[in-house]
Symmetry: C2
Subunit: 281 residues, 2 copies
């Protein structure tokens, strides 16, 4: 099973504290040795990403990022334990595409039965993972529905409906962003935390790193972090219900109503999630 | 005027020697202080890119890349002196898009009059540069013509025709790749060198770095480098004729026939190139 990390904030924020925990799970405190990647949105629509098919715990590039403060309002990161699709750069999450003049980024954990039968529109996978196929299918559906970017609320509902369809195919833990909103769908395991004033102290689970957020922030800062598993030991993380999606914008979290799932035509029962292997993505 | 650097090779090749020269032109030996970027293709279709709106000569990320051997068969790099489009991450070349399941990368030097009037298809700019608009227009035209990737020869002719149209709008020095072929169009200034056995010694113009390629290569290696200006002082670089395109594949260079230009409907005379400012891109 891969691990996901996402961030949404109302001010440019340094993700290194959380990324350090994720990076260690790529080969030290976790078994995710089949590559890693991270995408940072900076200054609005600008995005840069770093990918490495090497384990993050031993990656020169990951080491650089630990010493290099990139301040960002939206981040999507992933460490990979491969199951479908060989270990290679083109199969390393997160994936990205441009739609409506915005850079979209996508990372997935889980397996999706028969996802490659879903017909594609204008977006095609470069690599061979189920995950990238699912991403291309989602964007193709959105592009077919709207020639230009719709209002945020309509887009949220549409993304939730597409997630519900994919949830019907297996395990679909997903982070996706269009540079403004971070969409986080829980197929089986995904949790989040929102930090705001009064800020406290947090200690990583995976290494001996402690931060007093009160020293790093202003009173107006709101920062939410989404992860497969809690990253800190002295904070309370909230589990996202299975089959549900949250939208994060400017650090604020909103759980989308459950009705989005009921509109999906191909959704199956939820029990199969438990039976499926989640060894990879 | 920005500077371009491209490489095509028949074996995964370390670009650091050439990139060192380009990076120094970003704020030390050259005035290109408005950001830089480089895209590496690895293992076939996989691509990773590094972008920084900081001057490359002072960039932490550029310093990392000088110490980090990424072996690649196709590379596109750019240092920017901004004219159109503010200095920001989203305006930092090279730009990339996926078409037909391949990651395309594009970098441009020059100015194009009225390029933003060219109608776009499925690809839209994320930033505000003329260059990204031109790239989106080219890919939109290719996508409209072929649903799936055509044969290499047909694609080369089509790219040459699109370049000829853009050449009619101003200065269009360009590098573009679909991961297999590197297309290099000379609007005003672009040159190349092909290195093959028997390999010799080369010394950078921009810094005191000398390489004996015979020590770094095998007899079968073929590596071509394209750049705005020669990067080495003891080799003979070949100027690409103005208004012409070369295709590089597996390190081999082929100059496309001039007839591609004659088929372009909106191409204007060539003299205006000289009159136009080339201060930016």
């Amino acid at each position: 099973m891969c691990e996901l990390l996402g961030m949404s904030a109302n001010v440019p924020t340094d993700i290194r504290f959380s990324f350090a925990a994720l990076a260690r799970r790529g080969g030290e405190t976790g078994p995710h040795v089949d590559g890693w990647g991270i995408a940072f949105y900076e200054g609005g629509r600008g995005c840069r990403s770093f990918h490495d098919p090497e384990p993050s715990a031993r990656s020169e590039l990951a080491k650089l990022l630990r010493n290099y403060a990139i301040k960002s309002r939206v981040v999507v990161a992933h460490v990979r334990k491969a199951n479908r699709g060989r270990v290679s750069l083109e199969n390393t999450h997160p994936f990205s595409r441009e739609l409506w003049g915005r850079r979209w980024t996508f990372a997935h954990n889980g397996q999706l039965r028969g996802v490659k039968k879903l017909p594609l529109g204008g977006f095609r996978p470069v690599g061979s993972t189920d995950s990238e196929h699912a991403f291309c299918w989602m964007l193709g559906r959105l592009q077919a529905r709207w020639r230009d970017a719709p209002k945020a609320e309509g887009l949220e509902r549409a993304v939730a409906e597409l997630c519900a369809e994919l949830h019907g195919l297996g395990v679909f833990n997903m982070l996706m962003t269009d540079s403004r909103t971070l969409y986080a769908h829980c197929g089986k395991r995904l949790c989040y935390i929102t930090r705001r004033a009064p800020f406290g102290i947090a200690t990583l689970i995976d290494e001996d790193w402690r931060v007093d957020f009160a020293q790093e922030t202003t009173e107006r800062d709101v920062v939410s972090v989404v992860a497969t598993q809690a990253l800190t030991r002295d904070e309370t993380w909230t589990e996202i219900p299975r089959g549900r999606m949250i939208c994060l914008r400017d650090g604020e979290v909103r759980l989308l109503p459950d009705r989005a799932r009921r509109t999906a035509p191909s959704r199956e029962g939820t029990d199969h999630n438990v039976r499926l292997s989640t060894q990879g993505c």
